[in-house]
């Protein structure tokens, strides 16, 4: 039924008018974001709105700002249930506290998809995430490869106790442990709370404590790696003498990659946002639904559609290098 309407709309191109037609109600999806201040979240929102199903009026995605508060997100989950949304996608703030949203959605029989960060439960319909342990492993590997598995590194961590910090940290350690015993020394590790400004101060202080000793910087996100780059510059060192990596692939990091200053591990906001919308649509529309985002084409062989039935979709990381950075920047309109 909905498929039929979809094709009608495609032919008529009257997207705006069509959404108001009787029986043409689009699938209503509540997209619960943990916050909206970070560039990565902004990217996810943008790609969600660019999903073909949304553009064609088949789906209507409403974004909620969780204001970095798990309790706020739980309230928003309850509200989405009460307002009878057809599906819920959550990018959770807290991997324990927000299990609540999954529980209420399941009780109401509303399909729920978890994206970007993980929840400590198996009760959701599906997860469309990137494995943070893998991301942490890849970025540390990039640093260590440049150092030839030898030297002193510092790790700038995410907020203590958060799943990002724990899992990326685990990946960092795995990569370090693959080097010969004692060849790589972690001089310092401390949180800068995902913030560039905090990382800038922290790295300046470390450079003071360990002048000319630090060889590599593992930033658990790009912003903090960029803060470290600013610190290195302000202390009068040459950034190119350091091996630096971060995670996420924010635009500034792509520029830094292009300048040869760091490596970034791109977390595919588009893959996560659009992938989870496809999985949610499939659950609502039924067997007739075919995935509309081209990410499934892009990741063929690495992440299969599998009729929307996979429990956990691992959206692959992309290591951003001077070779592929131009294409990525172009995709963002630069």
């Amino acid at each position: 039924m909905k498929k039929l309407i979809a094709s009608l709309m495609l032919s008529s191109l009257m997207v705006a008018g069509a959404t108001t037609m009787a029986n043409a109600a689009p699938v209503r999806i509540a997209f619960l974001m943990y916050g909206n201040k970070a560039e990565f979240v902004q990217l996810m929102e943008r790609y969600a709105k660019e999903h073909p199903a949304v553009k064609q009026g088949l789906a209507e995605v409403t974004l909620f700002d969780g204001r970095y508060d798990a309790a706020v997100q739980n309230d928003q989950g309850q509200m989405a249930v009460n307002s009878k949304y057809d599906a819920i996608i959550i990018n959770p703030m807290d991997f324990e506290a927000n299990i609540d949203v999954v529980t209420v959605a399941n009780e109401a029989g509303i399909p729920i998809v978890v994206t970007n960060a993980r929840l400590n439960t198996q009760d959701m319909l599906s997860e469309v995430v990137s494995d943070d342990v893998e991301g942490g492993y890849l970025e540390a590997k990039a640093v260590l490869e440049k150092l030839g598995c030898k030297g002193n590194v510092v790790i700038i961590e995410g907020p203590k106790g958060g799943s990002g910090e724990i899992e990326r940290g685990r990946g960092n350690e795995r990569a370090i442990s693959e080097c010969p015993e004692g060849a790589v020394k972690v001089l310092e590790r401390k949180t800068a709370n995902w913030s560039r400004a905090e990382a800038l101060d922290l790295m300046q202080n470390w450079l003071t404590a360990h002048p000319k000793e630090i060889d590599g910087v593992i930033g658990q996100n790009d912003e903090m790696a960029l803060g470290a780059i600013e610190a290195i510059k302000s202390a009068g060192y040459d950034v190119k003498d350091f091996a630096i990596a971060g995670i996420d692939g924010v635009t500034d990091a792509l520029r830094a990659v292009k300048a040869g200053e760091m490596t970034s591990i791109l977390q595919d906001a588009r893959g996560q946002a659009q992938g989870s919308i496809d999985v949610a649509m499939k659950a609502v529309v039924g067997d007739d639904y075919k995935p509309m985002s081209d990410i499934w084409e892009q990741y063929k062989g690495k992440m299969e559609w599998n009729d929307g039935k996979t429990k956990r979709y691992d959206v692959p990381w992309t290591i951003v290098t001077p070779e592929n950075v131009d294409a990525l920047l172009k995709d963002r309109g630069y």
């Binding site: 201040k37 970070a38 203590k160 101060d201 300046q204 960029l226 803060g227 600013e230 309109g333």
Partner: protein, 338 residues
């Protein structure tokens, strides 16, 4: 009940010396702990006690220091300004939109050098501060509430500018204000802090306006009886605070090379902490800029020293929190206001 007569020493003077001693004590403590590492052979030299590290600390406290200068005026006037962190982000974002080489983040974005973005930031900060002051004095709303409103609204405006995106790729002229160095040694943000501090000190201590700020905070009714336009004084105090939030916005944005919507979150608390450690009374009428300067320095030395010594961040928070409370408990002149 009246207690016995008090000795003739000026307690404000004692308070000022007290904080200098606290600062020196802290430096000696951190310096000694670092020296211990040298003695133990883990460090080749004492990393804390160097000129470069001192300049680094000044660089690091520049943003908080500038905010705290404005906060000092506000607190002396008997108010509080919770909006400075948000206004920092808002003015920084507006400045960045006139200093970016990546067009399209906003409808007007472009790189106009340094002068225009800085003027924009200062204008945005001052105007928002004026709104704060007008609401407080016109509607007699508590400063806490009015600026709490601005804290939220200011963050909203910041996100509205670019729909929540950061603005980066800032021009080198603008970035010089965060990364440049005078004589190849003194960081420009530290120079800005010095200039701001000096001018503010002159305004607070040498001008009629400064004296009126003390009077309004000490007893608004007495000030009114003395023919002072207390409403105008309050508005100007918040304009000044907003203006300095604009200055801080320029420094932070130029320093990190990117205007972020989350920039400056909870910076108002660090600024208040510096002012309170510096000996100002939250009930108004009492406070010194020199105290605030050392208050900001103490916070800066602590952050720097604990990073250098490799102390975990949770202990850093515990130590900072304790210090604020102890500073007030140990304040010799506190009994006067009890």
């Amino acid at each position: 009940m009246q207690t016995g007569s008090r000795a003739g020493t000026n307690p404000l003077a004692m308070r000022e010396y007290g904080i200098v001693f606290a600062f020196i004590g802290l430096c000696i403590l951190v310096g000694a702990l670092c020296q211990l590492k040298v003695v133990q052979g883990t460090w080749p030299q004492n990393a804390f006690l160097t000129v470069n590290n001192l300049l680094l600390i000044l660089h690091q406290i520049s943003v908080n220091g500038v905010l705290a200068v404005g906060m000092t005026f506000v607190i002396i006037s008997g108010g509080i300004d919770l909006s400075v962190g948000s206004l920092l982000a808002f003015s920084g974002m507006m400045a960045a939109s006139f200093a970016t080489r990546s067009p399209g983040v906003t409808a007007w974005a472009g790189n106009y050098g340094a002068f225009i973005p800085i003027v924009v930031a200062l204008a945005v900060g001052s105007a928002s501060g004026a709104l704060n002051g007008w609401i407080i004095s016109r509607f007699k709303i508590q400063a806490f509430i009015a600026t709490l409103g601005m804290l939220m609204a200011g963050r909203g405006f910041t996100m509205a500018v670019t729909n929540g995106n950061p603005i980066s790729a800032l021009g080198p002229e603008f970035r010089w204000f965060g990364t440049g160095k005078l004589f190849d040694a003194i960081p420009i943000p530290a120079v800005i802090l010095g200039i701001v501090f000096l001018l503010a000190w002159i305004i607070l201590n040498k001008t009629v306006f400064g004296r009126y700020v003390y009077a309004v905070g000490g007893n608004e009714k007495s000030a009114r009886t003395s023919g002072i336009n207390t409403k105008a004084i309050l508005i100007w105090v918040y304009v000044l605070s907003g203006f300095l939030a604009g200055v801080a916005g320029v420094i932070l944005t130029a320093k990190t090379g990117s205007a972020q919507t989350a920039a400056g979150t909870s910076y108002e608390l660090d600024a208040i902490a510096a002012v309170v450690i510096g000996g100002a009374s939250l009930s108004g009428g009492i406070g010194r800029l020199t105290g605030t300067f050392f208050g900001a320095l103490i916070i800066g030395v602590m952050n720097n020293g604990l990073d250098i010594l490799g102390v975990q961040s949770f202990y850093q928070l515990i130590i900072k929190g304790s210090l604020i409370v102890f500073a007030v408990i140990l304040d010799p002149s506190r009994k006067l206001t009890a």
